[in-house]
Amino acid sequence: MRPRALIPILYILFLLLPIYWLVAMSFKTTNEILGGFSLFPQEWTFASYRTIFTDPTWYWGYINSIIYVSLNTVISLLAALPAAYAFSRFRFLGDKHLFFWLLTNRMAPAAVFALPFFQLYSAVGLFDTHLAVALAHCLFNIPLAVWILEGFMSGVPKELDETAYVDGYSFPRFFIRIFVPTIKAGIGVAAFFCFMFSWVELLLAKTLTAVEAKPIAAVMTRTASSAGYELGLLAAAGVLTIIPGAIVIWFVRNYIAKGFALGRV
């Protein structure tokens, strides 16, 4: 093994340490956690996990999160696909400015928008619905999806479109039957990033929900403060939030690096 392999190994160790600690905590009893320091759980307990899987406020948190994240991913992709196609194939009045404006929306600090978002979604009667969070997350996910998809689409030669028209395909049929399957790697990467950014965001999700659509992350903060400081429970809930991300990333592992490389700035 070459010495420079040490750099990634040390870095990964550094990444895994806090995660290890979270996992270890989640299997400890509250007494053991507060009683003193121990590197490994002395008596393994699944009590924290049992609480989460039996208490509806907990597990509904997960279900709510998964619902709005999936909803957001679908909406973002459906809207971004034709737009990315237009940016990659056509020149139209103001296209460059529009593209840049879309990207600037990633710069809007969520904290700035929290209150106006609350008022806006209350006004249109969507407050505390999954749709509200899914739509709000479009603010930063659509620009990203457009950007990634545009990169992939620009890599597909225009001749593909032309050949299909010559063969008598109508535009919608060409788009769905030929074009979309051609860039499915790009769609996978875009879906991954939409999933990721929607899953990790908390501020807007928390602001736009109260009971019905409350995300897991919000359940965590509230439970932790109301029921004293149940570190084991908090750790177990945290561990469970890492799992969906880990599963998704395993599926797209071969595309991650590529997805970044293809976007245009």
Binding site: A110, A111, V200, T221, I242
Partner: protein, 286 residues
Amino acid sequence: MKTENQRGWLFVLPVLILVAFNALVPLMTVVNYSVQETFGDNLFFWHGVGWFEDVLRSDRFHAALGRQALFTFTILLIEVPLGVAIALAMPRKGFWVSVCLVLMALPLLIPWNVVGAMWNIFTLPDIGLLGYFMNHVLGIDYNMTQSPLAAWVTIIVMDVWHWTSLVVLLAYAGLISIPEAYYQAAKIDGASNWAVFRYIQLPKMKRVLTIAVLLRFMDSFNIYTEPFVLTGGGPGNSTTLLSIDLVKVALGQFDLGIAAAMSLIYFAFTLLVSWLFYTIMTRNEQ
């Protein structure tokens, strides 16, 4: 070559509506607040640019901006070189690439408040792994709730932990796009490792590094959840970054006018710096 086709607008329309709904309406609301004064009961009065003057003159805003600048500058200075170094040391192909990428991407997929909570648990003085190690093994007095220095070091290490992988992924994507022939030519030309880095790898990574710095700048400037969960802005105000201060003003004190003016100044500042950086970095490309 792209064809001139105004039908493009039709394709972009759904995106336009969705993003405009989310971006313009709230932005207008914020602008609206920023030029009005309220005494409750939904009564608003025109206040002109008064709030903007107040914010720009306030020591509190300057202090928060200063802390924010220090934070962003520090994490960029650590994460970008570190990310590049890790990407350079990573294997280029084979089984270990997938393992590295998956493990490294893990922190990016953890909800931000969980990141804060995780680091909180990790650093608790007597029962956290890091806290215990610092206090009882190394004998360094380490307590985030009391020492501003400890709090600062912790939020910076946490951000490095959370986001360096993004720089690694981007830099790595840039590196693997360099054809093997470049390395072979450099070998034949007798180039040193440093020359290979300086004249081949760095120029080829420039584009992705521009993206990395922009993303990290924007996101770290907007950072709220992780430091809020970890330190709550304390001890005192020592880690009260811009967003945390903003939320304190808006929701804690309900000074909507000031908060809105702060938001806009802050948004404009982010936009300006990003645009300047982007323009400078892409100046040499035709």
